[in-house]
Symmetry: C2
Subunit: 417 residues, 2 copies
């Protein structure tokens, strides 16, 4: 089944908000075997939305729209849908009663004036209950065309997609099932080098199964039939995926939807080892990535963000003489930070990062982008100097990803050997 995702909101077209909703919906639909043929965003405005709906139904008979269901004056998605389908906006008695109970529980004397519109829906629409907010989702089927309206608040939209929309879609539509596909996740190697290495030995039909998805320092290789091809056989996908894994070998950290920190978590947890970090230029970014994994407290002791010389000395025990003689951005200080983190946080492994993220602070000898990363482990300590390109945020991100890669490699080696 082909779907168009329509995002409604002036904030998108003015560039004030990144459209994460479309990505969420697209990912969920793809995984369930539905085909998103187009994404589109238009500003708030009854005419604009009505026109966009007409164009969307030129590309598919199924439209999922988000945004413009809120209580403020610029929320006109329901009105526009009524115009487009020639329906009236009517009060949904059941949903109104639900809102009434909700607001009374919160201490209100009934549904406040400004929220009454939330119980209105195009005549004949199915109301999809929203336990995360006051705007319900709406499912409107009209002849061959179906329109699903969801609120734009990401948490509410996600809840409705997962709990209300996907179960109905799967029940009401038959798909060919999720496409045969295999995932190979890599770190430390660029997209074009990957393509060069793996495509040489494949024939044209096999090459067409390859898709490359770079994301924040990683590249995913997905082996799968694309939307316009005949579905590939499971065997062809398996054969190509095995080839990709073999050729990229030392860069492959996962062959399933698992992020690199989940892989690291498994190694550490299963070996009863703990990790600590010491960050200067990344300022907490590495610790934040680590602790985004649920249960990280089982193997992560903590980290120090030492942004001053005094804190490097007092918290991590970096000798003042090293800071004076070599400067905070140096191999010597990075190594002392790693040693300090390992000792003070009581861990078998530690990572330390110190560098110049910019825009200021660079020198001829150590320009912006110069970063030292140290990994200390049970077997010893290693230090690397890097020169990263990009602005402050990119240098910080690349540093944290490189540190992650170094730790993953070491754990991988120690598990293999």
């Amino acid at each position: 089944m082909d779907v168009v995702i329509l995002t409604i909101g002036s904030e998108i077209l003015k560039g004030r908000t990144v459209n994460t909703n479309a990505a969420y919906i697209a990912g969920k639909l793809y995984a369930a075997g539905f085909n998103v043929v187009q994404e589109r965003a238009v500003a708030d405005g009854e005419d604009l939305i009505t026109r966009a709906l007409g164009e969307c139904y030129g590309a598919a008979d199924f439209v999922i729209a988000t945004g413009g269901l809120g209580p403020t004056r610029d929320d006109v998605t329901k009105a526009a849908s009524c115009v487009f389908f020639g329906r009236k906006l009517v009060c949904d008695k059941d949903y109104h009663d639900h809102l009434e109970r909700l607001f009374r529980r919160m201490g209100y004397d009934g549904v406040p004036e400004r929220s009454r519109g939330q119980a209105e829906a195009p005549e004949g629409a199915e109301v999809l209950p929203n336990s995360q907010g006051t705007a319900p989702g709406l499912w409107l089927a009209d002849g061959g065309r179906t329109l699903i309206l969801l609120p734009g608040v990401p948490r509410e939209m996600q809840h409705l997609i997962d709990e209300q929309v996907l179960p109905r879609l799967i029940e009401r539509y038959t798909t060919t099932g999720a496409p045969h596909s295999a995932l190979v996740r890599t770190v430390g190697i660029g997209e074009s080098i990957i393509a060069q290495r793996i495509e040489d030995e494949l024939d044209e039909r096999e090459r067409e199964l390859l898709n490359y998805y770079p994301h924040g320092g990683f590249v995913d290789v997905v082996v799968a039939s694309s939307g316009e091809m005949a579905p590939a056989s499971g065997d062809a996908v398996k054969k190509v995926a095995a080839h990709v894994r073999r050729v990229l070998d030392k860069h492959v950290y996962a062959v399933e939807e698992k992020d690199i920190w989940e892989v690291i978590a498994q190694y550490l947890f299963s070996h009863g080892q703990r990790l600590a970090v010491a960050e200067s230029c990344t300022g907490g970014l590495l610790a934040e990535m680590i602790t985004s994994v649920p249960g990280a407290s089982n193997w992560f002791s903590g980290g120090a963000v030492t942004y001053s010389n005094a804190s490097k000395r007092d918290i991590l025990g970096v000798p003042g003489s090293l800071l004076e003689n070599h400067g905070a951005v140096s191999e010597q200080v990075a190594s002392a930070m790693a040693a300090g983190a390992k000792e003070k946080f009581i861990a078998q492994w530690s990572l330390a990062i110190t560098g110049i993220a910019g825009p200021g602070g660079g020198s001829e000898e150590k320009p912006v982008g110069t970063v030292y990363i140290v990994l200390a482990g049970p077997e010893g300590i290693s230090c690397e100097r890097y020169s990263f390109n990009g602005n402050r945020s990119q240098v910080r991100h690349r540093s944290a990803i490189k540190a992650t890669e170094l730790l993953w490699r070491a754990l991988h080696r120690s598990a293999a050997g």
Copy 2:
């Protein structure tokens, strides 16, 4: 001038990549007085792109497309543009020579086979040099229709927009100039409460100037004429903006494009004061937000991510008896963490966060979402207990934003009083 932004890439439609490129381009165009009427995303595929171009030119005569200019087999944007405009793909001699020099400097023996296509462009297209990568931007004018092609790698796309595309747009097209507008940035108050408070005293024409943009715990109120209205006079915008600032008063942290941490940075730096943080459940997120501000080392000493009881005790000096008697998620431990951070990192201000981000770890007494936030300052210490909704990532984010708000309020009060 009306523009359509077209994003090309299967990764977008499969939900593997969030479309940050469209937001970047839209923001830059809006600020320069151009009007983005639609955003659209389609998968890699010559037919799909050709068809999308035809539809885009139904909505505007100016299309900016990103993606599909890379060296791999699925990069077919140039080929599709040639089909659409009936042009031939030819080698740009100057750009080829540039690539030749570039690759020789990197130690190659000329342009490698796989990168030769990078020097090809639709006949008659203007080549926009890209100092950040090997794929140049392309500017193709054909009768009344203009197409700009940019690579999809965010850093390269951003560089080309800033250095090549915007200067040409501003030189070649007259706009009405940036719209009259005023920005009011708020924290700690929801969109619908804001609307209720400020719209009551305004007439219909004034209300139409209001736009609300919630983003990650903040709400921006923008007073401006919208795309379909006659441009509002500067006086009307000024009057309404003053009203908004007055009514929202205690929630307004900025009236310009400045984030709340930049505002906090100014207070601290100008008073010669320093900040430290102690994080448990937020795991470095707060420190990461703080250090995203360039020059943060002038006022931020650092922070401890204490993810174990031992590290709370050893690094921050939290008494073991408090941890035993009250648990790590308690007012007592949060207060001791804040006091420890203030002392160990030598700072006048500190923030401490400890809580249960989930999914595990909750209890009846302290369910998932329970978070203690402590602010310690020159005048004393205050502790608040919160119950945040949402998943792990949302609880962490809300905690960090609330801590930010508490500090901003205290600094604001101390600056005012």
